[in-house]
Symmetry: C2
Subunit: 144 residues, 2 copies
């Protein structure tokens, strides 16, 4: 649990970096052997690319470092529940474990189909959920 909070704080750091760039503040890190091997934050506005979600960027970085398209022994930390696109990518990578902060009651993959996730991926929700959700809520409040 302590380790999960430690790495979620790193994902939150990424989320804050997104906020500073006027992006929806979601961040992700991928950990293997207690080491961060990939990280990312939402960059859809900057890159004009709808695929540039935090998790996607982190997965591309981590698999690049690993030289393998699989992340069986890795944990992906993300501040908000993944959308179906990112859940699909997490599944293709056969990611060993997924830890997320706040649920996304609108766009979270579990609203569509929990089976998008790979059956072998262990899932833990709710780590630093309040803090993870709050920065997104505040971002949209300031947008209005």
């Amino acid at each position: 649990m302590e380790t999960d909070e430690k790495f979620m704080k790193e994902a939150l750091r990424e989320a804050h970096a997104a906020a500073e760039e006027n992006e929806v503040p979601i961040g992700a890190v991928i950990v293997c052997g207690n080491k961060i091997i990939g990280k990312g934050h939402n960059m859809t506005e900057k890159l004009h690319d709808p695929t540039a979600h935090a998790e996607m960027i982190a997965i591309t970085a981590a698999t690049g470092i690993m030289g393998s398209k699989y992340l069986n022994d890795c944990t992906l930390y993300v501040t908000i529940e993944p959308c179906p696109m990112c859940a699909g990518a997490i599944a293709w990578a056969q990611t060993g474990r997924l830890v997320y902060g706040a649920i996304d009651p609108k766009k979270g993959y579990s609203q569509f189909s929990p089976s998008i996730m790979h059956p072998k991926t262990k899932i833990q929700a709710g780590i630093l959920a309040e803090e993870c959700g709050k920065i997104v809520t505040e971002y949209f409040k300031n947008k209005r």
Copy 2:
């Protein structure tokens, strides 16, 4: 219909390029105003990247060209029904129209949840379905 077949043939050309690179042979093109503005084929093996599906590469290319993360006035042609990851990306891009060849009874997004797709995206399945499916079947037959 003729136009759809014409552009699906371009997607098939991409799929054949994937086969030559020993990748699962799936190809995609994105068309706007009767012009191809993005294309791609599966490159997951070459890039060691599980996110490098034909549709994802084509979307990143097309949105880059457009300077917008939306593809409202575009049609995405892909040889095989998109997986949940790619369907999610097609939805985020608010893609105007999706045309695919063969259905994917195992990994197609409609097996998980048809609502992954954006409600405004018009969907046409079955264009050159036999040819689109056949190259994938043959690819896996040769792998065994």
